[in-house]
Symmetry: C2
Subunit: 359 residues, 2 copies
Amino acid sequence: MRVHNFSAGPAVLPEEVLKEIQENLVDYKGNGLSVLEMSHRSKEYMEIIEGARARLLKIMGLSDEYVAMFLQGGASTQFYMIPLNFCADDKVANYIDTGAWSSKAIKEVKILGKKLHIAATSEDKEFTYIPKEWELSDNAAYLHITTNNTIRGTEWMIDPDVPADVPLIADMSSNFLSKPLNFSKYDMIYGGAQKNIGSAGATFVVLKKSMLEKINPGLSTMIDYNTHASKGSMFNTPPTFSIYVIGEVLKWIEGNGGLVGMQKINEEKAAYIYDVIDGSNFYKGTVVKEDRSFMNIPFRLPTEELEKKFISETTANNMINLKGHRSVGGCRASVYNSLPMESAKVLAKFMIDFEKVNK
Amino acid sequence: MRVHNFSAGPAVLPEEVLKEIQENLVDYKGNGLSVLEMSHRSKEYMEIIEGARARLLKIMGLSDEYVAMFLQGGASTQFYMIPLNFCADDKVANYIDTGAWSSKAIKEVKILGKKLHIAATSEDKEFTYIPKEWELSDNAAYLHITTNNTIRGTEWMIDPDVPADVPLIADMSSNFLSKPLNFSKYDMIYGGAQKNIGSAGATFVVLKKSMLEKINPGLSTMIDYNTHASKGSMFNTPPTFSIYVIGEVLKWIEGNGGLVGMQKINEEKAAYIYDVIDGSNFYKGTVVKEDRSFMNIPFRLPTEELEKKFISETTANNMINLKGHRSVGGCRASVYNSLPMESAKVLAKFMIDFEKVNK
């Protein structure tokens, strides 16, 4: 029996994708070998990676003005690559701080000794909202935002406007491809694949090609985006299997209505849980309503004792990973693209029943 | 039918490992989810990664004086991390250049503007041998070697002696765990997993803990080995599935006689092919006999025409990836740990038959 997996990442994958991968695990489509064993330069593998790349840009509605790359090291590696590549010494890296991962991205700018400007922050209220206004510095190298805060459960509901000469860079790790966005407003979009579009081990980077001309000279080979863009992510051996998984998930997204389809099911899933929270004095949401994430739903119970009991009983009832991030406590349900509707329903029903017994 | 896969990497995996992975792909050992979907902080996954780490050190015969890490970005990422971490500004990075990957490692030292000394090189004869003597600089930060040249097919047959105050660092990407070594002579051993111990997407780094004290201050978080050593490779999401594959391959190595067992079968496999080359005027080895690799066997045929025909006919006969690296041409058979004995026999027999028809 499949568990209901509310993990914040690595996260649930569509069962039909897993079955497809399983079927082909020892012998990929009659080629006599596993994808795990394939030379990354073989014809069969080139079809896999090129297919994933093309499908990604197609789903995002982006033209060949953009290049899609599959790298390694997670968003954490991008945190230092971005200022190294795109912030020249006379420029200022601009960030909007919405907590957790934004803060980590900002820390790397400081370590590098680059000029930094916090254009806005929601730190005053413990990152429980998304800033609606921001002020860029002069000489801005770029503006960096984090479109969804996995830990706090806040999400950008708009694509921010920036002056034409300021590149917009977004860490979309935890809400990528969960809804239609005006992706062409962004100059770089990146994130770890292990939440919405695949398994751990691959980092997607979608870069406007005009950004390649802005890259600082003299960078270490693997840190320079030119290395990967010019070699089709094949300068060195890419994370071949993780990219294959991404490709299969992208096919599944396409087959389920694309981004419009994802948005519809994601809103419906989140609504099941938010409705319970909103209709209750027992459960309490932790962020302002208008900025509530459709991906990560943190909530508190009246006492930590009850939270412990809730985690324990959900686990016993086949619902796993509902514990909030260790830095904030409480409970959290992550309801990414691949989480089945049934899982959200089962959790919502359990929450109602648990409240009846324990309030 | 399984192909005979002579790929230089990503490379063949043991069929029984693939079958085990396949069986557990949708539902890992009755836990109701795939390893691909597991939170890296879950109990089930912690067992996988800790098991792999412990088994790796055990196979290497290393004590807890060493820490084993599973990182991302391949050896190419280590090429710049090593000088950044271990070469202070007043020190000199020492390298023995045996071609290809050594040369790439050296290039990254130059990009960083660190002091560099080439302690020995076999460039004078196109990297067709391993230097037997070397001279370290004063103030050496470390000596770096590459224990097997995947492209040229040369291999170190000894663990080099260095003065006690000079750390020895080795890129073992292409012969790791293929034979017993005196691993405790090394202060750092690293490489991509996709040749001898797993699939693409994970980089193993085995570091003597005393090295952690030598790390340069002020490094970007993900570049600093302290980050990964102190968090058990869990500072950020590790490449979970690739590490799982490594764990399964390590079990297979243990179950097949460990490093002594690997050496025995690897020597036997290589002998099948080297014997054909040595007994023929048709095939020609490309490196000096005493330094011939047990992992990668490059050879030439009398003409490029015949090489083309050889590649084409082997492929038609279910033997794939026998083309030499594009930088050197010719043919190459990679016979890593997981290559079945049968594959080496089949190739050797084919080579004899091909010679008869075409000489």
